[in-house]
Amino acid sequence: MTPVIALSLFGIINLFLGFTFKRQSLQVVTLLFIICSMALTAMDWNHEYLWFGDMMKTNNLSINFSLIIQLAGLLVVAFSNGFGKDEVYTQPAEYYAILLFSLVGALLMVSFQNLIMLFVGLEILSVAMYVLTGSDKRNLRSNEAALKYFLMGSFATGFLLFGIALVYGSTRSLYISGILYNLSHTAPESLPSFLYAGIILMGIGLLFKISAAPFHFWTPDVYEGAPTIFTMFMSTVVKTAGFAAIYHILDVTFGGFQKNWIITVYFITIITLILGNISAAYQQSAKRMLAFSSISHAGYMLLTVCANQPSTSSNILYYSLAYTLATAVSFAVLMVVAEYQTGRTEKPENFDALNGLAKNNPSLAFAFTVALLSLAGIPLTAGFWGKFFVFTDMFNKNLTYPIIIAVLMSAVGIYYYFKGIISVYFNSGEIEKIETSFLFKIALWSACIGTLVLGIYPTLLKSIF
């Protein structure tokens, strides 16, 4: 309960600090705020309680998800560099405040016990993301991305709301506990058929947010158009919160109706894997490749949602953490290189712009490589174990065909992730030494070391989850 209140207050305070503080000190203050709310989150460990009129629930699972989300926020703020040298057009106080507010939305999405709170959390998160996507006001692509995201996102929210309405109409409750109670006390034959439509519609609304395949068309354009720092935020926080919500809705609440939604979700998972990976292989722009890679990772995480084993929640947690660390690092390196290359090459976000990075910036190149290896799922990185746990879940459920497709597709993944590594190490190019701030270096190295440690000792965190 406390982190939600604290983050909202911090956001408001941040807005007003912007009048007096310098941009670098604002960055430090925001970091302190997030660390403070992480500490408040961790203080609830092993306390399970309901709050806000029984509409929210804090337990160890929601605390774990909250911590991962806030860690992603922390990394994004640390990588942001106080929003650069552009003194006139960037408004760091507002950006940081909106980041904090959207973290509130994400925290609501991981701990809801009432479908209305799911909706409110999703909207807080999405509206903040629409604003941040369009925050580069003079960039036409950023404006376009914001409008696209807004139009399609509000449409998807409509699906979610319609689904909630149908579920409410058939189960007479918005509370998860009430829904479960009414479902278990009603004979399956006497349940109205629109309950199943409601489940599927809610699933569609949430699958849109995590960009699963038939609903993924906004992802590459929005990820490419948005400023890279907010793309990083979008691809980590929104995905983690979205998966927490999907797990809660499909597996916890409607796990008993698995036979009604499983075929749809299977189909979506398989298309997500195939489309995400194959399209990523064709991209020239590294940023667009990472957008498609985020689609394909949504597919891997959906596999474990389909399996619905007791270990599913901890597998989603592990995968989200591994994915968050690797994605944040790869976007961060891409961001500083693109900043350096702007004005030097036509397309600063292409793979070609990364050529020869390793020569004068060995640390950036190494971090980028570790992140891409983790995304590709090479052993000794966190991404490998994330995939391993997901495939184990599927195997325990005797689902061989999806595993075959998933393994084939991660082989495709190796191709396009290694394209980045090759251009960093083997292609020739002229990139001078890129200066990065102290906070940037700390965040880069801690995320890198985190990826390696999780890859070498996966049981370290598995014992906690």
């Binding site: 408001i12 807005l15 007003f16 009048f19 109409g169 007479r172």
Partner: protein, 149 residues
């Protein structure tokens, strides 16, 4: 459960029916003598000019935003006031009044902070367009115009 929506249906049917009845009745009773003036769009007594689909000045946008903010505040304040003034609820629990009052104060306080933020940022200033005076020098003296008019 579903039956409660019967009220909504009755409301819709009654509303549509009433409007249809009144308009049909009026059609038979009223005299019908149209002319150009009567058929033109009523625009507060002004003669309408041009298309109604004009572009609004983006300066109104911020005002619209602030308006929506306080509109929502009002929408919430009215039901709150009804519940707050309920004597039964107040008697049921000792802290009820303080709790309800404090909650609303927080809500209005956050909205007030929002207004203060917009104020400090200078969004409440009406930005006047910078109209440049024409530096066209007319060869005709102003006196000549006065005579003509």
């Amino acid at each position: 459960m579903i039956e409660s929506f019967g009220y909504v249906l009755a409301f819709l049917v009654a509303g549509t029916g009433f409007m249809a009845l009144v308009l049909t009745l009026a059609r038979f009773i009223r005299p019908n003598r149209p002319n150009d003036e009567k058929l033109s769009t009523y625009e507060s007594g002004e003669a309408p000019v041009g298309n109604a689909n004009v572009r609004f000045n983006p300066r109104f946008y911020l005002y619209a935003l602030l308006f929506v903010l306080f509109e929502i505040e009002l929408i919430l304040l009215f039901p709150w006031a009804v519940v707050f003034g309920d004597k039964q609820l107040a008697a049921a629990s000792e802290n009820w009044k303080h709790f309800a009052l404090f909650e609303m104060l927080i809500f209005i306080g956050i909205l007030g902070l929002g207004l203060a933020y917009a104020w400090v940022k200078g969004y409440l200033e009406w930005e006047k367009p910078n109209i440049q005076a024409e530096d066209f020098k007319s060869p005709v003296p102003p006196k000549a115009y006065e005579k003509f008019n």
